[in-house]
Symmetry: C2
């Protein structure tokens, strides 16, 4: 059976799986990234985990390659560079070192680019040539597809919308120290920051006044909005307004047919999609109005990050 190993390296967990040509993750596992502060140990564990997955399969596996999604990863250099949420600092030669352990085709890109490829091969972007995937987790990532190809940039670091200095005057500082960086507002973490901001700004009663910042979660903020909590409702409206205006402006770059909102914050459903759609449409220039969709992922039933990483390799199989 032809399969591709998909690996998603995150600050907390590393997820691995074997993925079929329809994007199904047929077997998977994960381990805690932080237990491997030494890169060599991490790579040993990764290579060994892929072997374990292969051995778990009842039939013989023909492993076509390994696709890896990781924060701040460069496809052109096979490196992770200056990732804020990983132990390994500076420039990490991920691909070269993993290739020493596994001599098969290997590709690396950032997690949002992998998600975009996954959406194009296996999800709701099938058949689209121009779209953008926005991942709304701890931070905000983006994968831009233009003319049917990922926009990688000169050495692989295109599509980092999260650090665009969007509101430099207002000035929340994001995870990379950018003042007004978009992800400080629009991400799962950004929403939590907006909840406490709204409690600072308005006197309204709210259940969140008795919950510590670190205990806030998207699901509960959604539930509170459903029940009419004024702070939760204001927070979603504010987040959607900022994201909607940002998407209207991003349209001036690559004019995508659709933006896909995926990840934690996107799971808040209409509370994030509706204000985003409204404010984007209000701010689109005439020539773009009515032409840009905001969509949800078609990968909900799949293992998005792992299948997306595997799409790096499946992509080549499709086009060859």
């Amino acid at each position: 059976m032809d399969l591709v190993a998909g690996i998603d390296i995150g600050g907390t967990k590393t997820k691995l799986g074997l993925v079929s040509n329809s994007g199904e993750c047929v077997v998977s596992m994960n381990f805690r990234t932080k237990e491997y502060p030494d890169l060599e140990d991490f790579l040993d564990k990764t290579a060994q985990s892929v072997q374990e997955l292969i051995q778990k399969m009842p039939s013989k596996v023909n492993l076509l390659g390994v696709g890896i999604g990781a924060p701040n990863a460069s496809n052109k250099r096979g490196t992770i560079e200056y990732a804020a949420n990983l132990y390994w600092k500076g420039i990490v030669p991920l691909q070269d070192k993993l290739q020493e352990r596994m001599d098969i085709p290997m590709k690396v890109t950032n997690d949002a680019n992998a998600a975009a490829l996954g959406e194009m091969l296996f999800g709701n972007a099938k058949g689209m040539k121009d779209f953008v995937v926005i991942t709304l987790g701890t931070g905000l990532g983006s994968g831009v597809v233009s003319n049917g190809s990922l926009v990688y940039g000169y050495d692989g670091f295109a599509g980092e919308f999260g650090h665009i200095a969007w509101l430099p005057e207002d000035g929340r500082v994001d995870g990379m120290g950018v003042k007004g960086g978009l992800e400080a507002y629009v991400s799962a973490t950004g929403l939590k920051r907006t909840i406490v901001y709204m409690m600072s700004k308005y006197p309204d009663e709210s259940r969140f006044r008795s919950i510590a910042f670190n205990d806030l979660h998207g699901e509960e903020i959604t539930r509170a909005a459903e029940e009419g909590d004024p702070i939760a409702i204001k927070a979603f409206e504010y987040t959607g307004e900022i994201l909607g205006k940002a998407l209207a402006n991003f349209t001036l770059f690559s004019q995508p047919e659709a933006y896909f909102l995926v990840g934690g914050l996107a799971n808040c459903g209409k509370w994030i999609f509706e204000p985003t759609q409204k404010h984007m449409e209000d701010h689109l220039l005439e020539m773009y109005k009515g032409k840009v969709c905001i969509m949800s992922s078609g990968m909900a039933e799949k293992n998005v990050a792992v299948s997306g990483a595997a799409a790096l390799i499946w992509m080549d199989q499709y086009s060859s």
Copy 2:
């Protein structure tokens, strides 16, 4: 002799030329766009002008096609849509109607995209796969090349950096009514607006206090800066700061190897290039630092707009 007709439709003039495979405009002419407020008349005049150019050539011309650059033009639809500076309003079916008069291969795109193709085929972007051309004339246009291809977008309107709401709080209104739109600051017109803004803000003596706004020109502002005029110097510094920060942020989209500054404002030389370079570098994220160049056009000796438009057709000849 194999030649391509390049046509650049501007608000004031329409320029036409026959262009060789090295980007040389071997014969050219122009007429005033505004003398043809009726689209049919304009198209008759255009088709007739191409014939005249062919007849001017001493040897037999094999016309391979017609490439057209125009504001707000869509390559996918062959239209000009909602162009602020042209008589013809709404959606103009340019290509279809010109094709009725000239039955040869024809392509349309916006003027900045044409400039980018020209730079790639004939200018300083030869061999580059990821770069952006910024045209700094009456407005600010942009042509983005990624993976060696122009980023056209879903229906051809990608690359409109001039209308990005860059300083919405401050709020100069640009030619399309966008508050804080980049081109209201960074363009030949934007520089003039900054000259009068600086005269409003500072009490410094300046030659520009005795010149009317409509009589301001880039060459004179450059000369004034050379001679130490404090308003001119402040205006360039302000313009370069805004452009430099904008380019640092744009890098998060497509990570180009280079930005090419072309057109009127770019002719101000070091007064615009130096502050732009400095502020861009200061604001680039770590992973981009030292990797992004700001360059001038390699088309200075050529008829940029006409050769760029012709590149639309030559491009296909090269790749086939």
